[in-house]
C-alpha cells in the first residue's frame, strides 16, 4: 500500500489533470443520481402533498411506515430490485439488470420515502397555516395542493437535495444491481470500494474528494437558494 501523503498527492494530480477515468466515473454518478432524484421527486412530491392533506383511516400508519422507510437499508433495496430485474424475475424481460437504468431505479426507490416524508411534513405545516384561507377561497383539493407545493418550493428543494445527497453517496444497492462494471455501471461509490480493496488509494481518494465536494457544494447551493429566495419572497 502506498503511503498516505503520496496517495493524496497522486489524487490531487488526478483531479487537477482532469483524469478521463475519474471524469467518466463522476459523470456517470451524477447522471444516474440526477435522473433518479428527478424521477423520485416527480412522484414523491405529489404523494407527500396528497398525504399531508388527505384524511383517511390508517393515515397515521401510512405516515409511520413512510417515515420508517427513510432508513431503508440500501442492500435490501438492491436485493429487491435485483430479484425484480433478474432474468427469472417479473421484469427480467426488459434486460435492465447491470445497467445504469437499474441503478437509477434502485436509487429512486431508496430516496422516494425521504423526499415524500419530508415533503409531507413541510406541506402539512404549511396546510395548518393556509387551510382556513384556502378553504375560504373555495379552492379545490387539487388547487390547494398546487398552491402548497408552489409556496413551499424553497423548503421542498432542500428535501429533494437531501434525497440527492443520499442517492449519490449510496453504494450497496447500486453495487448489487449495477455490478460495478468498468465503463458501464461503475460510479464513484462503487469505484471507491473497489479501488480501496485493490489498494489503489490515489483513485479512491480522488473520487472521495470529488464526491465530498459535490455533496458539500450541493448543500451550500441549497442553503443559498433557500435563504436568497426567502429574503426575496418572504
Amino acid at each position: 500500500m502506498q503511503e498516505i501523503p503520496q496517495s493524496l498527492s497522486l489524487a490531487v494530480a488526478l483531479i487537477t489533470s482532469l483524469d478521463s477515468t475519474l471524469l467518466s466515473i463522476a459523470g456517470l454518478s451524477l447522471r444516474v443520481s440526477a435522473i433518479a432524484v428527478l424521477a423520485a421527486a416527480l412522484l414523491a412530491l405529489p404523494f407527500g402533498a396528497w398525504l399531508a392533506l388527505a384524511r383517511f383511516p390508517g393515515r397515521q400508519a401510512v405516515i409511520a411506515v413512510l417515515n420508517g422507510m427513510m432508513g431503508l437499508p440500501p442492500v435490501v433495496v438492491g436485493l429487491l430490485i435485483y430479484l425484480l430485474l433478474s432474468r427469472a424475475g417479473p421484469l427480467g424481460t426488459f434486460g435492465l439488470l447491470f445497467t445504469p437504468a437499474a441503478m437509477m431505479i434502485a436509487q429512486a426507490l431508496l430516496i422516494f420515502p425521504i423526499i415524500a416524508a419530508l415533503a409531507r411534513q413541510v406541506i402539512e405545516d404549511a396546510w395548518s397555516e393556509y387551510r382556513e384561507q384556502l378553504v375560504s377561497l373555495n379552492a379545490s383539493r387539487f388547487q390547494c395542493t398546487r398552491a402548497l407545493l408552489w409556496d413551499t418550493r424553497f423548503t421542498l428543494s432542500t428535501s429533494v437535495l437531501a434525497g440527492f445527497g443520499r442517492a449519490i453517496a449510496e453504494v450497496g444497492a447500486v453495487m448489487i444491481v449495477g455490478g460495478n462494471i468498468d465503463g458501464v455501471t461503475r460510479v464513484m461509490t462503487t469505484a471507491i470500494a473497489l479501488e480501496t480493496s485493490k489498494g489503489d488509494l490515489p483513485l479512491a481518494l480522488a473520487l472521495g474528494v470529488v464526491l465530498m465536494s459535490m455533496v458539500i457544494a450541493i448543500n451550500l447551493a441549497a442553503q443559498w437558494v433557500k435563504s436568497t429566495a426567502m429574503k426575496k419572497h418572504g
Binding site: E129, Y130, E132, Q133, V135, S136, L137, N138, A139, S140, Q143, A147, W150, D151, T152, K232, H233, G234
Partner: protein
C-alpha cells in the same frame, strides 16, 4: 357580485362544542341584506367561532345556518372572509389576488386584480412579495383580495386587532366602501369605538351566548343586558 342572492340568513340555535367545552350555545338571529353587523364581546366570547360557523369553516354541534339560497356552491361563492392574521401566499400582492380570482373561476383575472388593487389604493404594491409587506399592508391586501371576489357577505374576524390607528382607519374606510357597494358586513371586534363607527346592528356575545341583539344606536344608548352594560363601562365580565 353573484347573481344568485344568499341573503337573508336565518341562524337557529347555533352551537359549537370543542370536546367538553361549549364555545357557542344556542345563537339565534337573522341577517338582512345590506346591513353592517358587528359581533361584539370580550376575548373568548365565541365571536370568531360564530364567524367560522357562518362561513362554513366549522361544522356546528347544534342548530342550523339557513341561507335563503339552497345552492351550496352559490352560498360558498357569495361569501368571503378576512382573518385576524392575514394569510398571504408566497407570491406578489397581485398574484395573491389573482389566485383568489382564479379559484373562483373569474375570467380576465389580471384586469380584475388590478382593479381591486387600485380600489384599495394598493397598486404600488402590486409587484411586491406579499409576505414582505407590513402587517397593515398585508391586511389591506387580504381585504382587497376579498373585495375582488365581490361577495354578497363579507366576514371580518377582528381585522384591525394588531394594527395601528392609521392602518385601522384605512381598513375601516375600505369596509365602508364595500358596504356602500352592496356587501353585507359581519365583523367581530372587542373595540367599542370601532363598533360605534361601523355598526348598524350589534350582536353582543359573552361566554358563548348571544346576550343581546340590537340596533347599534339603541345598544350604545342603553344596553338591556347587565353583561353588555358592564362591558360598555369597561368592567371585567363574569
Amino acid at each position: 357580485m353573484a347573481d344568485a342572492k344568499i341573503l337573508p340568513l336565518s341562524v337557529e340555535g347555533l352551537g359549537y362544542r370543542a370536546g367538553d367545552i361549549s364555545v357557542l350555545d344556542g345563537a339565534t338571529f337573522d341577517l338582512a341584506p345590506g346591513s353592517r353587523n358587528i359581533v361584539l364581546g370580550p376575548n373568548g366570547a365565541g365571536k370568531s367561532v360564530l364567524l367560522r360557523l357562518l362561513h362554513g369553516l366549522l361544522k356546528p354541534s347544534a342548530g342550523h345556518v339557513n341561507w335563503s339560497n339552497p345552492d351550496a356552491l352559490a352560498v360558498r361563492r357569495a361569501q368571503a372572509m378576512v382573518f385576524q392574521r392575514p394569510v398571504m401566499l408566497r407570491r406578489t400582492a397581485r398574484e395573491n389576488i389573482e389566485f383568489a380570482l382564479h379559484v373562483s373561476g373569474v375570467r380576465n383575472i389580471r384586469t380584475a386584480a388590478d382593479l381591486a388593487l387600485e380600489r384599495a389604493g394598493l397598486i404600488r404594491l402590486a409587484e411586491r412579495p406579499a409576505r414582505l409587506c407590513s402587517g397593515g399592508e398585508q391586511q389591506r391586501i387580504a381585504l382587497a383580495r376579498a373585495w375582488a371576489l365581490q361577495p354578497e357577505v363579507l366576514f371580518l374576524d377582528e381585522p384591525t386587532a394588531s394594527l395601528d390607528p392609521a392602518a385601522t382607519k384605512i381598513i375601516e374606510e375600505s369596509v365602508q366602501a364595500m358596504h356602500r357597494g352592496g356587501t353585507t358586513i359581519v365583523m367581530t371586534t372587542h373595540d367599542l369605538g370601532q363598533a360605534k363607527r361601523l355598526a348598524d346592528r350589534v350582536l353582543f356575545l359573552n361566554h358563548g351566548r348571544l346576550v343581546e341583539d340590537a340596533p347599534a344606536a339603541a345598544f350604545f344608548a342603553q344596553p338591556t343586558s347587565p353583561e353588555a352594560a358592564a362591558f360598555m363601562r369597561g368592567e371585567l365580565l363574569w
